[in-house]
Amino acid sequence: MTEKLSLAAMLRPKELSPRQQKERRSFLLSVLAGTGVIGLALLGYVPLVKGWVKRLRPPGALDEREFLASCIKCGQCVQVCPVSAIELADAEDGFGNGVPYIDARRQACDFSCDAVQCVLACPTGALSHQLDKKEQARMGLARLTRPDACLARQGKGFKGVARGPAFPGLHRYVKVDRWTPIPVASHPYDLTLCDLCVRECPIKDAISLEPLESDPLGASRTPVVHEACVGCGMCEMICPVAEPCIEVEERLTWAAAQGRA
């Protein structure tokens, strides 16, 4: 202890006055605090680099990088959505803290608003104002991720409410009410062959049921996603099996999907 002190004294040519010592302590504490604040903010990079953040963004969202840069994290898009599909991300999204996303399985965007309200609400253009029709959106692409569980592929029908009586999700059934979305749980089906993903898709010609290649003459059908798909996630939300057979892969383009196949 004493050795250390004397060593410190040797290294330091002059004794500091109490005031100077106080100033030095204050300065060092400031450096520490500043480093801490900047360091913490930069930790926000980790979820991006590690690829933890894979979010389905609202319609019209710019490329992910530009989207995170231009979004002012105000949530005006959240406020105008008639089915409350849009949520704001939390700290675990790093730089994406406060940025809107859609959990399609919980509540998909079914374009109940018609005019892409979230885009109109966005003050920074993070949701691009070049989008004015739902057909122009490209949020991602629906893909048949669990074909074996698909009821249509098994030739099965569906009877009852799509996601069970406790599911809070909303959907606008044009034949029930042209303007107001109603709970999916209040709309039972009775289908001889399940076609919910096709039936409730809000985009024309985005998805259809086709005969199976392996059994072209049988009663079974398989959902096939077409180029018109905007990736809204309605099919993912409505899929009645426990784990959805069809899911939206966010940001996947038609070209990329074709290349992959």
């Binding site: 604040v37 105000c74 803290n97 920074t124």
Partner: protein, 375 residues
Amino acid sequence: MSSVDDYIMPPAAPEPERSKKGEDRKPAAAGNGGLPPMPSEPPPVGTHRFSWSEMGEGVRVMLGGEPRRRDKSDWTERMREVQAWKTTPEQRQYRRELLHKHETTKATFRWRKWRWPSIILINLLFVVSFHLDVQLVEGALTASRFVGFHMADLNSSLQVALAYKEILINLLIGMVTVAFLWWLVGGRSFCAWACPYHLLSEWAEMLHLKLAEKGLVSDHPLDRRLRTVLYVVFAALALGTGYTVFETISPVGIVSRALVYGGGMALVWVAVLLLVEVFYIRRFWCRYACPIGLTYGFVGVTSPVKIEWNASLCLHEGNCRNACLVPHVLEFTIKNRAYDSVMQAGPDCTRCGMCLEACMPGALTFKVKGIGDML
């Protein structure tokens, strides 16, 4: 240092708002109410004189510079007259009596009782608009629409502009509107009159002062240049990385969004900040870190709303500085530091009015250019 300078009264904060409605809550500034009559009239202090050097000094001090000490040879003629009058034997005697009265006079909360409701009301409007769907103020503090008109927080917009390198017209309209509105009422008045984190921080400060009074905690002041460094670093990070890095940890954005849309993990960071402020560094975020405060500080440089100081009434006991979030703006209230008989607080001032509440003789007032004394 004289005994006058050494005397320190407990700062304005710890007394609960609704405590007493007794005589000591009356605004002391109005007339000479409750004070012994002044034995002689002061020489005229005159009106505040604008100078570019004072403005520059204000910005320099806001950025973390130490207030410049003026030589007595720099004093204006009217300051010399006021000082000569203040040091006459009868005035010295009178001021000793006043000081004694000051010791036993509790701070009022005549501004806080407007300011706290102002913060709560502004933030409540956001919450109510969303949850009752009345569409009055949609969004959060970072950006919103006020009955359809775009509003955008200046610092958030700046971050977006630097990261995205493009500004949409809507955002620009929002920025200009907000800049003008806060310029009109003082710039950093955003902090004291609208910022939800400021209110939480004020409560943390009250707790800190209570604990400090009992000797359980003590303040560890930082170097004020830290905020300027953080400002530059966060601007550079936004520009360089293309991400709005600061928004990730902005407690103002986090608290505002939590109020409107519900809180999450990000609130843990806000809680940590508040704990630091209670136990270790008084008002850490608002004093030494927040870039938003500095942005609005720049807006307030030329603002018509200022805190003005009258040399003839000041007792130099320092209550105002003890109550103040940014005491460097009140440097002139220290004995022999003012070079003019009327001085105005610099742009870092949040126009919270706590110095007014702490000043019994009413040497400090709100001044609105073109309108005159407010109080």
